[in-house]
Amino acid sequence: MIVLGQVAKGIRTQQLRVGMRVVLILETLYADTQSEKVIWKWQPADEGSPLDAGSAQQRRVDAQA
């Protein structure tokens, strides 16, 4: 199954390849006085920038809270 999403802030297409492992993170799309709107994004999980799966998970929990 393929699910489209933007890549995390700062990731360029040159850093991506078909079949690479990614994790879902949440980033703020925009915020207003009432709420913060978040959007799912894909972040490379191997090599590249060091991934902190714990913080991505934490971010998800924060967003739901």
């Binding site: 199954m1 393929i2 699910v3 489209l4 297409t13 078909v18």
Partner: protein, 393 residues
Amino acid sequence: MSRDVAVLGVGMHPWGKWGRHFVEYGVHAARAALADAGVEWRRVEFISGGATMRCGYPGYVAGATFAQALGWQGAQVNTSYAACATGSQALAAARARILSGECEVALVVGADTTPKGFLAPAKGVRPDDPDWVRFHLGFTNPTYFALYARRRMALYGATERDFAAVKVKNAEHGVANPNARYRKAFSIEDVLASAMVADPLRLLNVCATSDGGAALVVSSMEYARKHCQHPIVRIAGISCVTPRFASAEVEMPDIATDSAIAAEAHSYRASIAARAYSDAGIGAEDVSVAEVYDLSSALELDWYEHIGLCKPGEAESLLRSGATRIGGRIPVNPSGGLACFGEAVPAQALAQVCELTWQLRGQAGVRQVAGAKVGVTANQGLFGHGSSVVLTS
């Protein structure tokens, strides 16, 4: 009983950015097709219009709009909308009427006036509309085309030069086509120097949005044998298939494929022409010329595989061999394709049939594919609309 219907006449309004009402283009194309067929409008018993969503109410009821513009004469009417597959669906409606014996002669018309820039979703905030959602997330049409292109690069070693070579080929084909909007030859370097739109696709890899119109007069084989003024071209198969679960490719406007854990994954695009071939009782090996939907020049390579001209992963070598140019073994997009036309949505599938009709009659002039006997069109409308027509001489 023969399941063929005959193409009596074809006509187009040149593609461009004319900015006039779509009805004008449709009427121009319809009159050209009627003249080509030698059929009076009053003789037409069924009119099938391709709808446009961009031109207000007359566009939603295009069949009746064209009938009124040509002069009310009591014909039965149909309007079809299937995004880019609109023309094939309108043609399929006409074929069904003819094969059921309800009429002998039918007119099929599609025309559009498009705004500048991307084809965009209807206005407003509508999170229930997948077309609205994908734009909200940033997935414009060229974004999808770029994802398909990147996939070819990663899986099959396609290069930006290959994508450029498709544009160069189609530009060469269309340079003398009087109905094409862009009649200019380009070099690989020209394409590679054009502005990036959606990496790796550049401006000259992505089709424009255009105004244009196309029309066909079709009839029973019996009527054609008595009255056709040209070598008879038959419509031997039409495919309007929908996807089958589990669909393995991300299709506009969806943002995901089906899960293929419990069910086998299918290629929707490969199923489109396959149905038209089986409908016509032929195979891909019988095809002598094809018109495919090069929304991007990279997408044309996908179509080579999806219509069975070669196996998955072989499209680049087929292109590089020169087989798909006019003069090659299996020319693709002799009209110049969308690269030279741009997209006039409800007219586009009919324009493909117009080109193949000229090719199979031997009337395509400098674009003529020598000895063309069997032609296939392929395109796809978003929201799951397949479109493929097989024509035989």
